[in-house]
């Protein structure tokens, strides 16, 4: 039995794996808070730029497919929704709904094909959703040429928010 060829290789590999895993766990603990803070900041920024300054509090309500339900001021509810466009989870938006009607739609991130799918992230197009009251209304919104999948994903996200709002107000 030669120790050098039988025991040493697996031992070295195990040590290297342990050291690396340990180091990564350590680094993760340092960066974890930073990541959470970044997520909170982006959410807050998107909320303020889309629906104005104000206090936003996350409610503990849930709805299947909706990431977060946030309560704003004056009866405004904001729904954070992520849906598939052309890429999976390509559409990540906030839908603000006040008194049952869409108040505004705003992107947190749009990881779709640049120049095609990203065309849905356009203020004029997003405005066509404002004022809609039901899922049937949303069906009537036209898709953007060249961004069929992203438009579908966006529509699905708005419909989810409307459905969630319907349930929340009951």
């Amino acid at each position: 039995m030669n120790l050098k060829t039988t025991v040493l290789p697996p031992l070295v590999l195990t040590i290297i794996c342990t050291v690396i895993s340990g180091a990564l766990i350590f680094v993760n603990n340092i960066t974890k808070e930073r990541v959470e803070e970044i997520n909170r900041e982006t959410l807050n920024e998107s909320l303020t730029s889309a629906f104005g300054e104000g206090t936003y509090t996350q409610t503990d309500k849930t709805f299947d497919g909706v990431d977060k339900i946030i309560e704003g001021e004056g009866g405004l509810y904001v729904y954070e929704v992520t849906t598939d466009g052309y890429n999976s989870d390509g559409i990540h938006i906030l839908v603000g709904i006040k008194d049952g009607a869409v108040e505004g739609v705003s992107f947190i991130s749009c990881s779709e094909t640049p120049g095609l799918g990203t065309k849905v992230n356009n203020d004029d197009y997003l405005k066509t959703y404002v004022g809609l009251k039901s899922e049937a209304d949303a069906d009537g919104v036209d898709a953007v040429t060249g961004a069929t999948f992203s438009s579908k994903g966006l529509k699905a996200a708005v419909k989810l928010a409307l459905a969630a709002d319907m349930e929340a107000r009951q």
């Binding site: 060829t5 290789p9 070295v12 180091a23 990564l24 990541v35 970044i38 094909t113």
Partner: protein
């Protein structure tokens, strides 16, 4: 002097993407925008330098039999580290690189440099080698990204260009345009260097080389 050579050889003479044709997957996949090209290039450089340092330090300790798994684990460790850093400090880049960030682990440039260079050389040359190769990779990725962004989206680093942005040729930022742009760039580089284009893609340092070679030459 020789150290300087280790550093600069990756820029043009042995440019990993355009001359030795390594690391094709990220070159094609993430270069839809110039900024993504730079980001991917720098992330790869970080991993390359880090793994080169560690592997060069451990070259006497790692037994030959478990060489590959050890290298891979070290590389994957650095990849996960850069994932944490990007997630925490440059979240937009983290989102746009997506799965290709994790796939830096299997980029043959990195494993290739570990096998060919870092496992045989001292720390300082290994750092310079990693830095040079990484920056050469960044350079070609940025070039790809810029060309594709200008033609496919009419912008460069996000700034609109007059005329071009009116009706950009979107095909260039789609997968088909990636293959096309890379083909053209390699052809032009070879024309400028007065060299014949390479017949095959690069396999130096790729652990699959033996298998591929056999298949290429008529199989088993």
């Amino acid at each position: 002097m020789s150290n300087l050579k280790e550093f600069t050889k990756g820029f043009i003479k042995e440019n990993p993407t355009l001359v030795t044709l390594l690391g094709m997957c990220p070159t094609l996949a993430v270069t839809t925008q110039a900024s993504n090209g730079i980001g991917m290039g720098l992330a790869t450089t970080f991993v390359l330098v880090g793994s080169n340092i560690v592997i060069s330090l451990l070259k006497k300790i790692i037994p030959d039999a478990v060489r590959l798994p050890c290298y891979i684990v070290i590389i994957a460790g650095f990849v996960t580290l850069i994932e944490f850093l990007l997630k925490g400090y440059v979240p937009t880049l983290y989102d746009s690189l997506g799965i290709f960030l994790s796939l830096i682990t299997v980029n043959c440039i990195i494993l290739g440099r570990a096998e060919v260079f870092a496992s045989k050389n001292k720390v300082v040359p290994s750092i310079l080698d990693g830095l040079g190769m990484g920056l050469g990779f960044t350079l070609s990725l940025t070039l790809m990204g810029t060309v594709r962004e200008i033609l496919g989206n009419g912008t460069v680093f996000g700034f609109s260009l007059p005329l071009l942005n009116e009706s950009p040729m979107t095909i260039f930022i789609l997968p088909a345009g990636g293959f096309f742009t890379l083909g053209i760039i390699i052809a032009v580089v070879n024309k400028l260097k007065h060299k014949k284009p390479p017949k095959e893609i690069g396999c130096k340092g790729c652990p699959n080389m033996a298998s591929c070679e056999k298949l290429r030459n008529g199989g088993i």
